[in-house]
Symmetry: C2
Subunit: 106 residues, 2 copies
């Protein structure tokens, strides 16, 4: 049986000034795309308190490859790109993080 390592995708998104409302609507529309992918668990978008045109996108995946292979090589990824990528300046670096290390902590 395959073992999956739960993975958190983290993207800090700097959105072109004056396009924030439009970006939030586009992300809401695009949410259905990512949520339909195999291995998708959940996602959230939050707006930065200190920098008003900055957001964080956090996506929980069953494993790394569900994002890097399954999603990015899916036909639907083209629609995600079309909806969202033109908002970013600069284009973001996406990182992945492993499972929580503190489950025994509190």
């Amino acid at each position: 049986m395959a073992t999956f390592i739960p993975t958190l995708e983290v993207a800090i998104l700097n959105v072109r000034a004056a396009a924030c409302d439009e970006f939030e609507a586009a992300l809401l529309e695009a949410s259905g795309i990512i949520a339909s992918m195999p291995g998708y668990i959940s996602h959230e978008l939050r707006r930065c308190v200190q920098v008003s045109n900055r957001y964080i996108l956090l996506v929980q995946w069953r494993c790394l490859e569900d994002h890097t292979v399954g999603f990015r090589q899916s036909p639907d990824y083209q629609r995600w790109r079309t909806l969202l990528h033109h908002f970013y300046d600069p284009f973001p670096t996406v990182e992945h993080y492993g499972p929580s290390l503190l489950d025994r902590a509190v």
Copy 2:
């Protein structure tokens, strides 16, 4: 009645090379400090897949000031600093993010 805006503290932590095991143990020890603060909800520490000495610390607070005032001005914060700050290189920038914008999305 006061209205609290749920806030996510986000810190990308670059830890001195070769000190990762020690850092993880220190964070586990320090977890009791942050978890005892008024307005603390939860926290998690995850290790980066792409950069092995990088971590993300995510802390859910009842509101921004529970972190920026309550925690940082508490006597216990000095112990948190002593336990953890010497691991960071460079010293991290901490950001705060507001509530999830996508609760209606999926």
